[in-house]
């Protein structure tokens, strides 16, 4: 009896199990919680927001990976010396083919192409969202795509400065095929970038999310710190032109910036070391490198501590900080005393000089000048800007460009174009801010204007990733440094292309200088 019941029960159970098995293909689905699939993406306004943020995030990652931004622009042939690190010495001395992991890792362009791919994909896919989500407007889409185009153009410009000719790929493919492209002449790449930007700046606004109109639920006081705006677009255009020596264009683009920057809440950093958020300033815990900075940025990549993005790596402080700020005997890189005295010639200079009242050295750029190894402290954002350096993670912004930089770029362009008076005017804007003596028209013969502009750039932009590229432009205008001239002539200004890139795309040829 019991057995019969059991048999019936088990029959029932087995049939039930079998039913389960029939529908089990679906039951077997165990979607990953880590990723979102193609099917569920590009459906809503939050997808475009995340993808937009993703592009900026990837760009930040590409630039700060192994501190590449400073390796490319600041250390190579620059003012910093390596304390002991052999690999940094190799960067400084342009021995970029030495067998250090750092050099191989920096010389791969994959991470920049990730930005380009993400931007291309965004341009292709974001319009889909219009159909799925009514909250996503055409205006919003236009803004987003303009940013994607600007980011892509910026990335190409960034890569051209580093590697010269790079493959120009304007579509994401995104179908599992990865065709090999040869390198495109850098002029064609920049022409493409310029064209994209010219169209993008038409759409890019000065400010995002101006009340009462929110942009992705947030007001401009936040967006002004990170998003590319109209001024950003013109700034990239100006640099694109400057890199190619098209100074007429530079003058035109920078003119627009000078006329309109206030629209984007951008300000000159009048105060070298502000003590609060009220004034726009350069160094210190309220300066342009901190998240406390309450004015508009031009091109800036944030890593705010308050958002959990402050890290021990990917900031110039990782290499420049040491005692007394953090628990480290010596920094990896420092500006030697000789270089400091060579660069900062005026005692009144607020960046580095001597305080006339106390007779002490000003410490806005360098700490403990009296020590053998002064610590470069112009960019020093420990966590969110605290003095306690026990837990050394850094929250500094990567400021690609700011108004002072563009002012000097404009001065450079005008000087090249022979508009000396206007150029001097621009140069003196900076000099006045830093309390150094103005450049006089009478000095044109004794102190060449172009040299003065580049010397000012060296002082003003130290540590911001400009030095090497400035040297290249300067020596293109007039040869001043035999080594750099040689590098320019032999195409040695470009970095070698990493072995992994060469291995995976047989159409890519190594830069001739490194062969």
């Amino acid at each position: 009896m019991i057995k019969n019941i059991y048999i019936k029960f088990s029959l029932f159970a087995l049939v039930a199990i079998s039913q389960l098995q029939v529908s089990c293909n679906k039951a077997l689905d165990a979607p990953s919680v880590e990723v979102s699939s193609e099917e569920v993406h590009w459906q809503s306004v939050s997808d475009t927001k995340a993808a937009l943020i993703g592009m900026y995030g990837l760009m930040r990652a590409a630039m700060v990976d192994n501190n590449a931004h400073w390796m490319f622009g600041e250390f190579r042939s620059g003012d910093f010396s390596s304390y002991r690190r052999q690999d940094l010495n190799a960067v400084i001395n342009s021995e970029l083919n030495k067998s250090y992991d750092l050099l191989e890792n920096i010389s791969t362009w994959r991470r920049f192409y990730a930005v380009i791919n993400a931007a291309s994909l965004f341009i292709e896919k974001a319009p889909q969202v219009l159909e799925h989500d009514s909250r996503y407007t055409r205006y919003n889409l236009d803004l987003d795509i303009a940013q994607a185009r600007a980011i892509r153009a910026f990335t190409y410009f960034y890569m051209v400065r580093v590697w010269g000719d790079v493959p120009l790929i304007t579509s994401s493919f995104d179908n599992g095929t990865f065709p090999e492209f040869p390198r495109t002449d850098y002029r064609d790449v920049l022409t493409f970038a310029e064209q994209e930007l010219i169209e993008a700046v038409e759409v890019l606004p000065f400010r995002y999310g101006v009340a009462p109109q929110l942009y992705y639920g947030t007001f401009s006081s936040n967006w002004q710190k990170i998003l590319f705006n109209k001024i950003s677009g013109y700034a990239i255009l100006a640099h694109l032109a400057a890199w190619q020596g098209k100074y007429l264009d530079v003058a035109a683009y920078t003119q627009f910036i000078m006329d309109n920057y206030t629209e984007a809440n951008i300000s000159y950093l009048n105060n070298v070391a502000p003590s609060g958020t009220g004034t726009a300033g350069l160094a210190g815990n309220y300066g342009v490198f901190t998240n406390n900075f309450q004015f508009g940025q031009i091109i800036n990549f944030s890593a705010a501590y308050s958002y959990g993005e402050a890290t021990a790596s990917g900031h110039i402080e990782q290499l420049t900080m040491a005692r007394p700020y953090i628990n480290r005997a010596n920094p990896d890189v420092y500006v030697s005393k000789d270089t400091i005295t060579q660069a900062f010639v005026e005692r009144n200079d607020r960046r580095f000089g001597v305080d006339t009242v106390s007779g002490l050295f000003r410490e806005n750029y360098f700490k403990d000048y009296n020590n053998e190894i002064p610590v470069f402290n112009k960019i020093k954002v420990i966590r969110d800007g605290v003095e306690d350096g026990d837990y050394a993670v850094f929250g500094s912004n990567l400021v690609f460009t700011r108004l002072e930089e563009l002012t000097l770029l404009r001065a450079e362009a005008l000087a090249v174009l022979g508009q000396n008076i206007k150029a001097i005017e621009m140069l003196n804007v900076i000099k006045a801010m830093r309390f150094t003596s103005s450049y006089q028209v009478s000095e044109l013969q004794t102190k060449p204007l172009i040299d003065e502009i580049f010397k000012e750039r060296r002082r003003e932009l130290m540590g911001e990733g400009w030095r090497f590229f400035d040297l290249v432009r300067w020596n293109r205008i007039k040869p001043v440094n035999a080594k750099v001239v040689e590098l320019i002539q032999k195409d040695g200004i470009y970095w070698p292309i990493s072995r992994s890139v060469l291995r995976n795309n047989k159409l890519i040829k190594q830069n001739t200088y490194w062969n």
Partner: protein, 983 residues
């Protein structure tokens, strides 16, 4: 499609068989009155009695381990139980630290194993009483920059089983049996049964041992030694500036912290005690029986106060409520608490934060002792693992030859780790982290077995279905720089309604990581058997497996298997055994990441190489294609393993010698691997099927009774097992012939466990020795000309450039030839057991030596390689062996990827020697305890000697990927005294 057809066939078969069952059952009812009586009759026939399930009903084969001598050893992990005991099983043991991970390989590596996270793809599965023990998912490594240790307690689940509770261990390598077990068993199986219930008089066993692990012999060195070592380089190559920047701790020879006596080892090594105590009980009636086992074990090594405490309970009940129904269940609960090593490297890697490393720990006992006492007092390092597994089985005879059995199995493993490092230990910041993670698996299986005898022919058929769900999850939070060293835990409010819900207190910066993975597997299988008078046996297994980690359109995999066994001795009526088995099977190879099933996907990884976990930008979460992970397309399918085996089982001289020899070939095909693509799309590669690896070899076991056991004579039995294995990469995805991954190269036709190295031929002492090409250009390394003091590397392609093209594949990190050699000698009540293990044709890359010599680059970078542990204040590198290169050279002369650091890691070890005597033979003892069946008193010594050419600490202490980093805690001599009482 095929699957659907199969369903219907299956259901049809089922109904038909049930209907038949009804009918024939009614016939039985009509014809006999036995049925009604069955429920009431007390006396069961022997045949019925035998039906009662026990855990130990499996017939054991030649691949079973002779556990009796093994049980004299204080081993705690499954890997240790089987080392050297079965042919074809190789166990990687990177550290002697109790509870640390081991990797059990059965018949070689089936896939790449470049890092710790790859091990899970190669490791054999351990089944306990038929329940496959889950493995940790390697996804936790995604949030770690270094994979030295997994986050969490990192305690090997397989260290939780108690050797004393085990009745038998068998290594399953037979293709057909693996096919029956399915994809979870694809890498081979270690089949463990615990002591099960037994009908009959109550049996009690008590077992205990006490032992000690002795200190290793080390030659400590101090700053003076280090200074002399470095002066070789400084005198020869240093510039004035380099000399100026000589490390501070070495530059002052009056600094007693470094130049004083180097006696750190007194504080680091201490003789460690280990013990176990267990009791087991079993008994029962014809209708029901049970067994119980409980134990507490402590294992420890003399280094760094590392130890493991374990509690283990096993309970088994078997019932025969009706003659046609058996019920069997068991449950095994374990808990482990582990005190782990205090290595700085592991700590900083876990913290993901490097402090200034310029000054190492002092080798002086006083200074180090202060550090140590601070460490012991203020550090919280709690590692707890809890494990439960069990099963409930119902088996019903629908007919005398038709059985339905249903099993529900559960396996749950959780790990908890609380960590706190005080500020005093690390500059001035403190660190805390908490981890909670688990692996959970449940399996629901049903099978129907049918048996039909026709004359001498026996037909059998089994159909069955298994459904298993694995869930892997972790919650991890870390925080830096808490308010003080007294608050050691981040206690938060768990009330969702409160505003401070989960808010850290005291200005802690808490970073949280959470992840979850699922792996569901559904299998339907059928097994057909034919047996002709025990002379010829034919078996075939057909399976359909569906996995959640495979994309929908290729989710189901059909795998057939077929095998035949010919019992020659039965046919020819020989007394000695002689049988031949030939088998082929195909088994699906599971992957444990659901990401492959998703197809093209988006993730939120916006980090960079040094900080891989950043996932937001300006506080907004951003997502993008998975550029750093790699492209996943729509066309990913199953990988599978094709297994062939030809086995010969013989015995000679009236079974005094028995041999089991098998030739095998195992092709693990179509495995998914990250394949490089042009980097101009931002991806690190794309995932593709197509990596296939062949393992071929011979397993052999020879058992011989050299001198028969005899009361007053010496008896000597010996067992030799060996495996010769060769692996070969058959194909790579998309017809590639080479694939580079970091410092490793895979090349079709070569072994997958080779190193990719420059061939070193010495040093350039003189500028004239450096070759130049016809144009007078000096030999260069990627464009950097060689100088005096650089390493001579062979220019394989004679292009005057030393680059990746000049690296060759050399050495292997799994052995070509390995096994064990075990002896048992008996005389009267005494027995002596010796266990040797050996591995030949195995190499290791001595990274420890490379790091030691490359001190300039390591220290200057303040990188993880610059960490100097306390135990590195000893002579652990053979300084005679290496030339003095220019450490400042841009060619990186002490790079690890050169054969200068490749060493032969072959070894022979006397792993265990034990001697015992059965006290129950003494009549006075026997008389005083009437029920005494055995009272075995024994002493055991482990790790008595090693024969090797390897210059590092121990050739076994090599990481899974063949890198010797000197971090493994050493195997030292262990002595134990134990008593086993059977009452």
């Amino acid at each position: 499609m095929i699957r659907n057809v199969y369903y219907y066939v299956f259901l049809l078969f089922y109904f038909v068989s049930l209907n038949e069952g009804y009918c024939s059952e009614w016939n039985v009812l009509k014809n006999s009155s036995m049925f009604m009586q069955q429920d009431t009759v007390e006396v069961l026939s022997a045949q019925t009695r035998a039906k009662i399930s026990t855990l130990n009903k499996l017939t054991l084969t030649g691949d079973s381990i002779n556990l009796k001598p093994v049980k004299n050893n204080p081993f705690i992990s499954v890997g240790s139980f089987v080392t050297g005991q079965a042919s074809g099983v190789y166990v990687q043991t990177p550290s002697a630290e109790p509870g640390s991970y081991q990797n059990i390989l059965v018949r070689g590596l089936s896939g790449v194993q470049f890092s710790n996270r790859d091990a899970v793809n190669n490791q054999a599965t351990v089944y306990v009483n038929g329940v496959p023990i889950g493995m940790e998912n390697s996804f936790a490594y995604d949030i770690q920059r270094y994979d030295y240790n997994r986050i969490g307690p990192a305690t090997d689940y397989l260290a939780s089983l108690d050797l004393s509770s085990i009745e038998s261990i068998e290594i399953i390598k037979d293709p057909i049996r693996l096919a029956e077990l399915g994809p979870l068993a694809v890498n081979g199986v270690v089949w463990i049964t615990t002591k099960g219930g037994k009908s009959g008089p109550r049996e009690i066993s008590v077992n205990g041992y006490f032992g000690m692990n002795t200190k290793p012999a080390v030659t400590p060195v101090n700053g003076q030694f280090e200074n002399l070592f470095r002066s070789n380089f400084y005198n020869k190559y240093a510039t004035a500036d380099d000399k100026l920047k000589y490390p501070g701790y070495l530059s002052d020879s009056t600094n007693m912290n470094f130049y004083g006596p180097s006696n750190w080892k007194d504080a680091y090594y201490a003789t460690a005690s280990l013990y176990t105590m267990d009791v087991s009980l079993r008994g029962g009636s014809d209708r029901a029986n049970f067994s119980f086992f409980g134990s507490h074990t402590k294992n420890a090594v003399s280094s760094d106060d590392a130890n493991l405490k374990r509690y283990n309970v096993v309970f088994n009940v078997n019932m025969l409520p009706f003659s046609w129904l058996t019920v069997s269940s068991y449950i095994n609960a374990r808990r482990m608490e582990r005190d782990r090593n205090s290595n700085l490297r592991d700590r900083y890697a876990e913290m993901a934060y490097l402090p200034d490393l310029s000054t190492p720990l002092s080798p002086n006992k006083n200074v180090y002792g202060m550090y140590r006492s601070l460490y012991d007092r203020d550090v919280v390092d709690d590692n707890v693992s809890n494990h439960v597994n069990g099963s409930l089985n119902l088996s019903m005879d629908i007919l005398s030859n038709l059985t339905l059995s249903s099993t529900f199995s559960l396996d749950y493993n959780e790990g908890i780790r609380d960590l706190f490092y005080p500020g005093k230990l690390m500059e001035t910041i403190n660190y805390m982290s908490t981890y909670y993670g688990y692996t959970q698996r449940f399996i629901f299986s049903n099978k129907l077995a049918y048996n039909y005898q026709l004359n001498k022919s026996n037909f059998s058929a089994v159909v069955g279905t298994d459904y298993s769900e694995d869930l892997f999850r972790y919650n991890f939070a870390r925080a830096y720089d808490g308010p003080n060293d007294y608050i050691k835990l981040n206690v938060v409010s768990g009330d969702r309604k409160k505003i401070e819900y989960l808010q850290p207190r005291g200005g802690l910066r808490v970073l949280r990581y959470v992840n979850k993975e699922l792996f569901n597997l559904h299998s339907i299988y059928g097994k057909l058997g034919y047996n002709y008078d025990d002379i010829l046996e034919l078996t075939s297994v057909l399976r359909w497996d569906g996995s959640s980690s495979v994309q929908r359109d290729s989710r189901w995999l059909f795998t057939p298997s077929v095998g035949a066994k010919w019992n020659v001795n039965k046919q020819l009526d020989w007394k000695d055994i002689f049988d031949v088995t030939a088998a082929y099977s195909r088994v699906g190879k599971p992957v444990y990441t659901s990401r492959h099933a998703v197809g093209p996907q988006y993730d939120s990884r916006m980090g960079w190489s040094e900080d891989p976990t950043v996932s937001s930008y300006f506080g907004f979460s951003g997502i993008s294609r998975a550029y750093s992970y790699g492209w996943t397309g729509y066309d990913l399918g199953w990988a599978y393993s094709d297994k062939f085996e030809l086995a010969l089982n013989n015995s000679f001289f009236n079974k005094r010698i028995s041999t089991l020899i098998s030739l095998y070939q195992r092709d693990d095909k179509d495995q998914i691997t990250l394949t490089p693509v042009a980097e101009e799309f931002g991806y690190t590669g794309q995932y593709r099927n197509g990596l296939s690896v062949r393992n071929r070899g011979i397993d052999a076991t020879i058992n011989a009774q050299i001198l028969p056991v005899h009361e007053n004579k010496v008896g000597w039995s010996t067992s030799l097992n060996f495996n010769w294995n060769k692996n070969e990469l058959l194909t790579l995805p998309d017809g590639l012939t080479e694939l580079v991954e970091g410092n490793r190269l895979l090349r079709v036709g070569e072994s997958i466990d080779k190193f990719w190295l420059f061939e070193n031929t010495g040093i350039y002492e003189n500028i004239s020795e450096i070759p130049t090409n016809t144009n007078g250009v000096r030999l260069n390394n990627n464009g950097v000309p060689f100088e005096v003091g650089d390493a001579r590397w062979k220019d394989q392609n004679n292009d005057n450039i030393i680059n990746d093209d000049d690296k060759v594949l050399k050495g292997r990190y799994t052995p070509q030839f390995y096994g064990g050699f075990n002896h048992t000698l008996t005389y009267k009540g005494f027995d002596l057991n010796l266990a040797f293990t050996y591995a030949l044709g195995i190499d290791a890359l001595n990274q420890r030596a490379s790091y030691r010599y490359d001190f300039v680059n390591n220290e200057d970078k303040n990188a993880i390689g610059a960490i100097r542990e306390i135990f590195q204040w000893q002579q652990d590198v053979d300084l005679e062996k290496y030339p003095i290169y220019n450490v400042w050279s841009g060619t990186n002369p002490y790079r690890v990827d050169q054969d200068l650091f490749l060493e032969n890691a072959s070894y022979l070890k006397l792993r265990s020697a034990s001697m015992g005597y059965d006290l129950s033979r003494i009549t006075s003892i026997k008389n005083s305890i009437k029920t005494l069946r055995r009272a075995y008193l024994y002493v055991t010594a482990n790790n008595l000697f090693t024969v090797t050419k390897f210059t590092g600490n121990d050739p076994e202490l090599v990481n899974f990927n063949g890198i010797y980093d000197g971090y493994g805690l050493p195997f030292t001599k262990t002595f134990t005294l134990g008593l086993k009482l059977d009452l």
